[in-house]
Symmetry: C2
Subunit: 134 residues, 2 copies
């Protein structure tokens, strides 16, 4: 519960691997998988998602691979999470879908405060960048 998935963990480890080497280097998925002991096929999909989210760039074909698009201090943890866990609300929405179900009042007073918690969480994850993890 409220735990980062293994995929996000793998993403962080892989990005860290890239960040701790010269910035212009190109890394193949296979190389990172071997170095970090991550299942290759799984990592390949993770890297593809990171590419779609413009965290890294790829060059296809022989001698291809991936490299960081931004500097580590420009890559937010929230961005990495969102790249892999495509767009879910961090905090659950209110489950009651009509006024009568849950509340005697007209205004839903649980959705908004939960949203605040979510927002605070967002801010926290946005303010943490890759360089703080490397």
């Amino acid at each position: 519960m409220l735990q980062l998935s293994k995929k996000v963990g793998y993403a962080l480890i892989a990005l860290r691997h890239m960040a701790t080497h010269p910035q212009d280097r190109i890394f193949t998925a296979r190389e990172i998988a071997a170095a970090c002991n991550i299942p290759y096929e799984l990592l390949a999909k993770i890297l593809q998602k990171l590419k779609k989210s413009e965290v890294i760039v790829s060059t296809q074909g022989m001698r291809g691979g991936y490299s960081l698009l931004k500097k580590p201090d420009q890559i937010q943890v929230s961005q990495i999470i969102n790249a892999i866990e495509e767009e879910k609300a961090i905090i659950a929405d209110c489950y009651a879908d009509s006024k009568e179900n849950c509340s005697l009042y007209d205004t839903c007073t649980i959705r908004t405060p939960l949203g605040k918690v979510q927002h605070n969480l967002d801010v926290l994850l946005e303010s943490t960048t890759l360089d703080q993890i490397v």
Copy 2:
């Protein structure tokens, strides 16, 4: 991902229901379930966990039920989560279990920073209390 479970949501909704009524009232699980449109058996187990974690108190037998043990501003969101999701790490640990797996260096540099994120998350959830959600 990084989403509160439905159970935690139900717990929050139920506690909110109790907090918006006179503090000395006793609520039956069935009453709350009906009012908040939550499956009764599921809510019953949730309330039992909240009782074990001393968020609410119960009186057994006929005319029994549950009532808040503390005032809403004394009930932390983190306490509610922990009551239901028995003791899990919020942020993933480092998955590499030996030096060779992940890093060229001796010290694991990913565990500690992630721990910082986790700590910030803990602080956030501890500093949010039920009264802010009601």
